[in-house]
Symmetry: C2
Subunit: 233 residues, 2 copies
């Protein structure tokens, strides 16, 4: 991703962030900087900068004379890609996957509708290409290749919507799709109905049929939610 390759800062952040989002420190817990210095064997500088970053994510709140307080989950910036990644890697994974899938079910149909209005010919071509790629790889244990086309497809739709905020969800969708492949249906071929729907969405976008693109994408989303048992509980 970024230049978070290695270094004390990244090491401490990648240790504290996941721990907090995993709930290792209950809300209200207090971390003292000098304690963290000793625990991670780093200087005050590093600890402070990490704290500042966690603070900007609203994971903690630093106050004088009291220490660094862990905030309750309702305060967290749950749209921060880093926070999303940490939560997907922890025990909150199922809950996080459901939240994200519901978000997808809301956003992607609207994005597809907008894409049908605004997609460039190049984007339409990309869409068709990836839809056909999904068809080609939908049988015979080619899940990895299929996944790449699936991710690319949704990324193009979100970008073609012309909405910057939708476009930024591309990474999130990629994480969700990857997570699903790696945990849910790892050994079974993709649902043929879903594959067909993707082809039809590409077609609808190409023909500038916004209504149809939106409705078809809504069907895809419904299928994704069904896979995670997100239904009348």
């Amino acid at each position: 991703m970024a230049n978070h390759g290695q270094g004390p800062h990244a090491r401490v952040l990648e240790s504290l962030g996941p721990a907090i989002t995993a709930g290792a420190y209950p809300p209200g817990s207090v971390l003292r900087t000098d304690e963290l210095e000793q625990r991670f064997q780093v200087s005050r500088t590093v600890v402070r900068e990490v704290i500042r970053v966690l603070e900007s994510m609203h994971l903690v709140s630093s106050r004088r004379r009291v220490g660094v307080t862990v905030l309750p989950p309702e305060e967290w910036n749950v749209y921060d890609p880093q926070v999303i990644r940490w939560r997907l890697a922890g025990p909150d994974r199922p809950r996080q996957l459901r939240s994200l899938t519901v978000l997808r079910s809301a956003v992607e149909p609207v994005a597809a509708g907008l894409a049908a209005r605004r997609a460039t010919p190049e984007q339409c071509a990309e869409l068709t290409e990836h839809a056909l790629g999904m068809v080609a790889t939908s049988r015979g244990q080619q899940l990895d290749a299929y996944l790449l086309h699936d991710i690319a497809f949704h990324r193009v739709v979100l970008r073609a919507s012309g909405n910057e905020m939708f476009a930024r969800l591309g990474d999130v969708v990629a994480e969700v799709l990857t997570g699903r492949t790696r945990h849910q249906v790892m050994f079974t071929d993709p649902d043929p109905a879903a594959v067909t729907l993707h082809v039809q969405v590409a077609e609808a976008v190409r023909l500038h049929d916004a209504e149809r693109a939106e409705a078809l994408t809504r069907e895809i989303a419904t299928g994704a939610m069904a896979e995670l048992d997100i239904l009348a509980p």
Copy 2:
């Protein structure tokens, strides 16, 4: 909000953040830390911590031997409430308002549908209360009171959806609604049709009619988009 009361850190951040999101530094611009030290008359400590925070928002990227590089807008964490606030306060305001309104149009109908399934009786009562409050304040220059009910209404819907990510959009919706009142229809009473729709949504949620709650909220969203001329361009 947080303890961003005052202090060198907040001062520098609240100066650099808006400047960057306003496009004062074109993507690729380089800021040197010692230059910033002199410009703001603060120590390296403060500058470095600010840079770390901006980096976590993906507004800048700090690299050795080259400096702090301003990243292109596509890289920004546009869901960070701080970034949203900065952009709403800058020249990008119209574009940002449109993006957020489109996001609302995608999320809120789905949220309303979920709320109809999961809202507690207390939440239903709150909803009705605020809808009636909107009715009561919809005439005769009571825009401020109306706005408070409007914001509260949408916040309850988002929270009642039971989805943490939807719930976190409450603040964003509040900013959008406030912005609209303060700039678009400041001197005219709210659209009576919109008021009626809110009452009907509250009713649909109370009756657990998810389909109807979603459809009605979609109408509200369409109205909001029409106000901003987000239509077949």
